[in-house]
């Protein structure tokens, strides 16, 4: 084997892709040729360095949030029977092996709350029962739109005017209205809109103002901005902001924490 032949096999050897025969011949060549030996040595060093930096230096791991999102999408794919059994109380963020057990526990806990276990229980479970369904609806519709589903936003916006006396804007900042439909969430008939900017999405829900009493667990942060009073639910992987416009409760939800939902006012009471 001459130098050129040996160097042609350089990366195959480094990547451990060379055949046994080639590897042996290269080794024999390197024992005789210090020039090639030095080139092999340096490239091996460089590759080890890069592997070290790339594999061990970059330790980003997927967030729990991503796992929840994926499992929720799998739930949506798993069919109707189970979804109906489970109702809308999704155990977002629970460790999965215990998921179904957790749902039974939650059902039991919910029963206790009904009997009157008091505020503590209500607080513990308010995320699952009050906010997760909204977040879930957001994830579902955004994914359905992304996968090519078409939901007539203009028709839903007309519904918003008629039913809620609320004028929906076609765009909020750089976010554009891309979908809208009527949905029943937590037993309440709502209008659900999706705004998008590139791959970021925000859901807007319109519900009767009186409905808010059902979700206000007393722990929402109150923030006033531009004379609007917002109620802010902000937990890991789930941001939902409420504000009132006349007799309508306007809800903005997104699982993208970078979006400033306090600046997300998607319309105004229609005149």
């Amino acid at each position: 084997m001459n130098c050129q032949e040996a160097l042609n096999l350089l990366y195959d050897i480094i990547d451990k892709e060379a055949s046994e025969i080639d590897t042996r011949q290269v080794r024999e060549h390197l024992e005789r040729c210090s020039d090639c030996f030095e080139k092999y040595r340096l490239q091996t060093e460089i590759q080890n360095f890069l592997n070290e930096k790339i594999r061990h230096g970059q330790v980003e791991v997927a967030h729990e949030r991503l796992k929840s999102r994926i499992l929720d999408r799998l739930d949506a794919l798993d069919g109707a029977g189970e979804a109906a059994d489970r109702g809308h109380t999704k155990a977002r963020g629970n460790p999965r092996p215990f998921r179904r057990a957790a749902i039974s526990l939650m059902a039991a806990a919910a029963a206790l709350i009904l009997i009157g276990a008091g505020m503590l229980g209500v607080r513990l479970y308010s995320h699952q029962t009050k906010f997760a369904p909204l977040q879930q609806a957001h994830v579902n519709l955004a994914a359905a739109v992304r996968e090519g589903g078409s939901y007539d936003a203009a028709r839903a916006a007309a519904g918003a005017r008629e039913k809620f006396g609320y004028q929906i804007r076609p765009a909020v900042g750089e976010f554009h209205l891309i979908a809208g439909r009527s949905e029943t969430i937590m037993g309440e008939q709502m209008l659900h809109f999706v705004y998008a900017r590139d791959r970021q999405t925000v859901s807007v829900f319109l519900a009767p103002a009186a409905w808010f009493a059902q979700v206000n667990d007393g722990r929402l942060s109150e923030v006033v901005r531009d004379n609007v009073r917002f109620f802010d639910h902000n937990c890991r992987g789930c941001r939902i902001v409420f504000h009132r416009a006349g007799d309508t409760m306007v809800v903005a939800a997104s699982n993208d924490h970078r979006i400033d939902l306090l600046a997300f006012v998607p319309g105004r009471p229609a005149i």
Binding site: D15, L42, V61, A62, R73, A76, T184, R258
Partner: protein, 205 residues
């Protein structure tokens, strides 16, 4: 509740099968999430797109789970699905033409430069000590997508040439040449960073 899937009732048998499928999927496929996410990050260069990409890959994998052969390489299968989605939906719309003619970079580019810069027994040691994880990350993210894909699959994920060929739907020879060119570009980028940041002196120009 969102009534997207309401309608037909399922028999107990269907339900049992569905549960088995779900269990198998969670056991076989979900453990690869971190690896998929890592590669998705290098390819999309941002968290949100990376998460979306991984999610779409899993949704698709779940839909086509019956096509996965039990016992075969689930990790490679998932990467193939994700790579496919990336190539079709995510790769940047305006793919800039190569600004560097890779073939002009000598095979032992870094070696030549280092030897000229710091004549010593181990010219690379001094440089390596000064290059940060972030420099390497940026150098990889600066590679053109076609090269970046094979570099990431090889260096970061440790897939073999043949596995990369299967994942990215390329000829074996194409994988090798892209990897080779990707390597050269990476070395050049790291050298340029080193010069720019004053880690080494630019004596070779």
């Amino acid at each position: 509740m969102v009534s997207m899937t309401d309608g037909k009732a399922k028999t107990g048998d269907d339900k049992r099968k569905e549960l088995e499928k779900r269990r198998a999927f969670e056991k076989e496929a979900l453990p690869h999430m971190d690896a998929l996410y890592r590669t998705a990050l290098r390819m999309t260069k941002n968290n949100n797109d990376a998460e979306d990409l991984v999610q779409e890959a899993y949704v698709k994998a779940y839909r086509f789970w019956d096509r996965f052969e039990p016992g075969s390489n689930c990790r490679a299968w998932l990467f193939k699905i994700m790579t496919n989605i990336f190539i079709n939906d995510y790769r940047s719309k305006s793919r800039s033409p190569m600004s560097v003619n890779v073939d002009e970079i000598d095979d032992s580019f870094l070696y030549g430069q280092l030897a000229a810069t710091a004549p010593s027994d181990n010219p690379e040691k001094e440089l390596f000590a000064k290059i940060f994880d972030d420099d390497v990350k940026r150098a990889i993210e600066g590679l053109p997508e076609d090269f970046r894909l094979v570099v990431v699959l090889s260096f970061l994920e440790g897939f073999s040439y043949q596995e990369i060929a299967d994942i990215a739907d390329l000829q074996l020879g194409t994988v090798k040449s892209r990897l080779h060119r990707g390597r050269k570009l990476l070395q050049k980028a790291l050298y340029d960073y080193a010069i720019k940041n004053g880690y080494i002196k630019d004596t070779a120009r």
